[in-house]
Symmetry: C2
Subunit: 430 residues, 2 copies
């Protein structure tokens, strides 16, 4: 009979405590699925005495995650501390060096150091699994890495941050402003006290580069991502979007072309009636486009104790069952840094909202600046006309080069006809 | 270095020929994903000389699939012949007996003999992979069996037949009748010359029992499925559905309760705004509900040469990479036939359409028959009123026991107030 697999958990926050609890309480079911006995054998966290609703008797406690990583008391190191640097990084490195497979939910760590850690895992023939790092409630890493492995994937994109999606959904349903909805989300626990990481798009960027690495077989390339957040979306934009037949979502989009890969995170207009437009609240969704399957769509909860624990446990079960797949699907040695297509080369239509003082000639100036950059206009909308007051004016452009759009916007601002920073939202016509 | 893995393909129809072609043409990419060399080594089909656009030089040809299954010329047996009995069954049994892992797209074979074949595979420590049997363009078997393995799944359901979904979608968009749209679908190649299997629901039933087996860890139980097809859906029903806020989809639904599992295939009213309502044309979609992840949704192409080949190749890659998972997620010995909840115990609301001769007292008779069975009415709709002519009358009931509904319908027919067979469509309020 196979020996029990001893699990050590570093980090006993909401997710870690839930994984620990499930390892204990769902032991019978998990052992059947694993084909062997799993035991919760080791733990480490900041405070041992804190009550987490988990029975720690019989579990070896470590003051230091690196010590646990090296200890013969555990076979699998589960890293749920978070953070791109130490102690998470040192502990994962120590576990791999000690010949132990690693399961982690740490997107920042892998986004920054994924290729190096994958090589360390591969050198020892170990698994480094990270399903929980991207959209915990959907097995998207497994689906892309294994389920769609025979495809050449051309594009992978989605809604990867539940906080932003909750805020945008609530702004739309309630008509309230961004700051107001954010404050409420913080009160309800849907947004962090410091929400910069989520609403600024960096959390989505971390997830996107991991998804792209698995989809395209390259090293995660975080610094090659164009990142914008949702801070500047107003209720006006949401109403205008709806009028044009779109909804605004914070998307991460990775596209492969012959020249390299394009990775971008920004609010986008998503056409009503397409799968991503209907993804509401804290849900995540990912679309993968491959040469054999065409479009496949995956939707589920992105985070939270249950979905994330589900992903962590699935990774543990995979290790228990024996397979060891290359971390990013391809051998670590083949994980080259991809060529990055600069955002200036991006081609796409876009929504532009200018807040202008309504006086004669303003529209003419804006139109001229767009025309000077060969950006042509598909439609224009100006709602109210109270002479002398600031009013929003919206343009939808035809497809144009990003660099040309940026120059046109700069010229419009310089011409002094707008009362505040223009808002640009790219249109996605998937 | 690991030796090449020699693939033998039995059945060179559209899917088999595409798998063969991809094994040859995408060899470099597949070898990287596999971590070893894959070779297309053996083939068998009815006619060797037929031009399939595949280079068969260097491939050993077998007149008999069982002979190929036993031959040392191949390491993996890929069964793409179809059919629940021999030669597919004999060939798969021979391959497993000869110690060869099997990949199959054959839902009928597994729906009928899955538990026995799983036991044969397990006895030899072999993989028996069947991702292509259910919704080829979505890695749903892998997602449920591995990705959601830590969950207790309570319900799994979806749109599993592209032909039916295409017909229903086209009936809705064109307003045309079932027979008319079916004939066109046959001309376009979206429906078989003998479409009974698809439109009667049996194809969905095969897929549903495989999905349920993996989700709930039981033996596939095809004979425990209540099956109805889409033959009796009329444009009237589609229009009425829309008015009530629903669309009609052919669903397969498997639910686990303490008493056993309920499996049913029938047209259903799906509320607008829920993920399944927007799945159009030949697309498939599956929803899995688990205790940890809540609801997760998977959508993609169900069939066709590309998606099915994608699934077959993913299964081959899994074998090349080494893991061998139990066929249905749980050890074969634990695959008991589940207790089946009879359809009469099903609880649900339902849409009832009666074609009645419009004369006084008809509605009273129908209402009385429903009331006699304690079925209460949520809403009623009668559109045109041309006295003496047959008109459709629609009732939406509150939740009721299926057995009571069946008795009420029988009483209504017996009372002689309806001009044709009543149409009953269950409402799903997921």
């Amino acid at each position: 009979m196979t020996a029990p697999l001893k699990i050590g958990i570093a980090g006993l926050g909401t997710v870690g405590a839930n994984v620990a609890r499930l390892l204990i309480e769902q032991s019978a079911a998990l052992n059947v699925r694993a084909g062997r006995k799993l035991t919760f054998a080791g733990a480490t966290a900041r405070d041992k005495r804190k009550d987490r609703g988990v029975d720690l008797s019989g579990v070896e406690w470590f003051a230091d995650p690196v010590a646990m990583a090296k200890s013969p008391a555990i076979d699998v190191f589960v890293e749920l501390m978070g953070g791109e640097g130490d102690p998470a990084k040192a502990a994962v490195e120590a576990a791999l060096a000690a010949g132990k497979p690693v399961v982690t939910a740490n997107k920042a760590l892998l986004a920054h150091h994924g290729a190096k850690l994958a090589a360390a895992a591969e050198a020892k023939g170990l698994a480094l699994n990270f399903e929980a790092a991207v959209a915990g409630g959907i097995p998207i890493i497994k689906s892309v890495r294994e389920g769609l492995a025979a495809n050449r994937l051309e594009r992978v994109y989605g809604i990867l941050n539940g906080t932003c999606n909750y805020i945008l959904t609530t702004m739309e349903s309630s008509g309230r402003a961004f700051g107001d909805v954010l404050a409420e989300a913080q009160k309800l626990g849907y947004a962090e006290a410091d929400p910069t990481f989520d609403i600024g798009g960096m959390d989505t960027a971390h997830k996107l580069c991991l998804l792209a690495a698995v989809a395209f077989g390259n090293a995660p390339a975080l610094d090659g991502i164009h990142v914008e957040g949702i801070e500047r979306i107003t209720p006006h934009d949401i109403v205008f979007a709806r009028e044009f037949g779109y909804r605004i979502k914070l998307l991460g989009v990775a596209t492969r072309s012959d020249g390299g890969i394009e990775q971008r995170v920004h609010p986008a207009m998503v056409p009503l009636g397409t799968p991503l437009a209907d993804v509401d609240g804290v849900y995540n969704a990912v679309v993968a486009e491959g040469d054999l399957v065409g479009k496949s769509v995956y939707e589920g909860r992105g985070a939270g104790a249950g979905p994330t624990a589900s992903a962590v446990l699935a990774d543990i079960l995979d290790i228990a069952r024996g397979p060891r797949l290359p971390t990013f699907g391809a051998p670590a040695a083949s994980l080259k840094r991809p060529a990055i297509t600069p955002m200036g080369d991006h081609q796409g239509a876009c929504y532009l909202r200018f807040t202008v003082i309504d006086r004669p000639g303003v529209i003419a100036v804006i139109s001229r600046c767009l025309a000077d950059q060969a950006v042509s206009i598909e439609s224009m909308l100006q709602r109210s006309r109270a002479p002398g007051e600031a009013v929003p004016v919206v343009f939808i452009t035809h497809e144009a080069r990003e660099a040309a759009l940026t120059r046109a916007i700069k010229a419009i601002v310089t011409a002094g006809v707008v009362a505040e920073e223009p808002c640009m939202i790219r249109m996605e016509r998937f």
